[in-house]
């Protein structure tokens, strides 16, 4: 979108016909224009050191009984995964992570879309509101989490506000009650990142040609039908990006939980990431922890792959 829009015109139209169509841009006919291959080496070294090698190691350690200290690792096959399956707390964490990720994805995008439609209209404050709604997304999650921890306290601002508007019956121990703690955490993530979804939808909305929209209005289509038949199909790419980003972010959820509840009360807000952290650095069960990391990896790959496949099929259909 915005950043990719600058495409200079091509000078060389007389390219040889056998050229690979994927080679957009221009020719490689000048024999000397071969960017040195070793340019990729420094990047490759850093990438291999901090991502590739440790990830492969992780994939291997998940099948061992490594305790993080002793250099000896025994291959134990699927034992860690069996233990994981039999561990009710781990199963709960998987469930919690999936519920949180789905809830965040749905609500954050719904709110983000409404905000985008609102600030895309001809209201006078739209530029100020855009900057304003996106602002929480750049704030350190640790800070927003502490802020909300205070707001959620039994004598905190949320309860005070409910009291002030006469809704005393709704006062809760927002983070102390294991039935609602997870939803309280999810609400914070949504508050923080709804503006992020908004700016991506907004970029999509700006690609809707104004003439088509106005033509539909003149033909008598109301706002709802205009949204459904004119805007919605054009928003498909933005929706794909938004859903992918929020589901992956939701699956990795850590900061907000760690600051607000550390997984409590009673493990009700433990996510895969908090359990990974606890198992490794509080209980020294590294092999077990990495097995959970591998489970998380599989979730991310399978869910985002599935989503991408479904959405790109939709996109093709609607275009």
């Amino acid at each position: 979108m915005a950043t990719v829009a600058t495409r200079p015109f091509r000078k060389h139209r007389d390219r040889p016909p056998r050229e690979d169509p994927r080679r957009r841009g221009t020719s490689h006919r000048t024999p000397r224009n071969r960017p040195p291959w070793w340019f990729v080496l420094p990047a490759l070294v850093f990438f291999a050191f901090s991502v590739l090698v440790p990830s492969v190691q992780g994939g291997w350690f998940a099948f061992t009984d490594w305790d993080g200290v002793s250099p000896v690792k025994h291959f134990v096959g699927l034992d860690q995964f069996r233990a994981l399956w039999e561990d009710a707390a781990a199963r709960d964490a998987v469930g919690t992570t999936l519920i949180a990720a789905v809830a965040i994805t749905l609500v954050q995008n719904a709110i983000g879309l409404l905000l985008a439609l609102g600030v895309n209209a001809r209201i006078k404050s739209r530029n100020v509101l855009r900057v304003f709604f996106f602002a929480p997304a750049v704030i350190t999650p640790v800070v927003t989490a502490y802020l909300w921890k205070y707001l959620y306290a039994p004598e905190g601002a949320v309860n005070a506000l409910l009291g002030a508007v006469g809704l005393d019956g709704l006062r809760q121990d927002w983070l102390g009650d294991s039935d609602i703690a997870l939803w309280s955490v999810v609400a914070v993530v949504i508050w923080q990142f709804a503006g992020y979804s908004m700016v991506i939808f907004l970029a999509g909305l700006q690609s809707v040609p104004q003439e088509i929209y106005e033509a539909a209005a003149i033909d008598g289509a109301g706002p709802v039908r205009r949204f459904w038949y004119v805007i919605r199909p054009m928003l498909a790419p933005a929706l794909t990006i938004n859903l992918m980003l929020s589901i992956i972010g939701g699956l990795k959820l850590f900061d907000q939980v760690w600051v607000m509840t550390q997984g409590g009360p009673g493990g009700s807000t433990d996510t895969l990431s908090t359990v990974i952290y606890k198992q490794a650095f509080q209980f020294n069960k590294y092999g077990y922890s990495i097995a959970m990391g591998l489970v998380l990896t599989l979730f991310v790959i399978v869910i985002s792959g599935l989503q991408y496949w479904l959405l790109s099929r939709q996109e093709k259909k609607s275009s």
Binding site: A43, F49, V51, T297
Partner: protein
């Protein structure tokens, strides 16, 4: 269509009300930080005797000066490396269509899918063996490796759409490939470099889990970890804690408000894919 009708007015009112709801937590953050210690009035009431003393206290108690320096160091180091290495790597990856080039590109893109929770623990062990735990250098190395795939992805996309005529002209004029890159190609990448910088600065500045692991207990913490420890220690003194939280986010908010258009554009368009 383009007139400001009564409907637009209603929408405007609704949006401003929504904005006020969004802003409520921020209002509490600021009003709390301005309170005097021991002010027991309701958390939603404005401070009765506003004071700035909490900011000074928080600055001293939390060692925020040192933490901001560390964060700035780690952020600057990582972003310089990310920009330099990603732009360099993207150049042959975008221009060459050979097998090795496509293979290497695919390997980098694999990095977009792997959650870093998987690499975190084995890398922790490696860093410990190398004696890098507690050293901000560990973070710089880690962030560089972690953020390269995404940055290379952005640079490659931009380069593929960029005319190679300029660099060819430079090569004709007897410029070596290294100089052609440094003085012709890299300057042409400026728009995308801006986006890459913004996205990485915000990511590195805000990250919490990595420094929590690699720097904990070292006294060389970055802002999120320093705030985490600070709040744990002074948990009942909310006015001072909130003043500390505000100090911690001022740098990144400053960047945001100064470059708001670029930041929003970067986030909206940068993640295309």
């Amino acid at each position: 269509m383009n007139r400001y009708t009564w409907r637009t007015g209603v929408l405007e009112t609704v949006m401003i009300l929504v904005a006020l709801v969004f802003a409520f937590p921020v209002y509490v953050l600021v009003s709390m930080a301005l309170r005097q210690e021991g002010d027991q009035s309701s958390p939603i009431a404005p401070p009765s005797h506003p004071t700035l003393v909490n900011f000074g206290d928080a600055w001293r108690q939390a060692g925020l000066g040192a933490a901001i320096t560390n964060s700035a160091l780690v952020t600057a180091g990582s972003v310089v490396l990310i920009v330099g290495l990603a732009a360099m790597a993207a150049y042959p990856l975008a221009r060459s269509t050979r097998h090795w080039s496509r293979g290497v590109f695919a390997v980098f893109m694999l990095g977009l899918l792997l959650p870093f929770q998987l690499a975190l623990i084995p890398l922790y062990q490696t860093m410990r063996d190398l004696g890098l735990l507690g050293n901000p250098l560990a973070l710089i190395v880690f962030y560089t490796g972690l953020q390269l795939p995404f940055s290379i992805f952005m640079y490659t996309g931009f380069l593929r759409a960029l005319d190679s005529g300029y660099e060819e002209a430079a090569l004709m004029d007897g410029c070596g490939p290294v100089r052609a890159f440094a003085s012709v190609v890299f300057p042409l990448l400026r728009p995308i470099t801006g986006t890459v910088i913004i996205l990485n600065v915000i990511f590195v500045w805000n990250d919490f889990l990595t420094p929590l692991l690699y720097l904990s207990g070292s006294g060389r913490q970055t802002i999120p970890v320093a705030l985490f420890g600070f709040v744990g220690q002074y948990v009942s003194q909310w006015p001072m804690v909130f003043a500390g939280l505000i100090i911690g986010i001022v740098p990144v908010l400053l960047v945001y408000f100064l470059l708001q258009k670029r930041v929003i554009q970067g986030f909206a368009g940068g993640l295309k894919g």
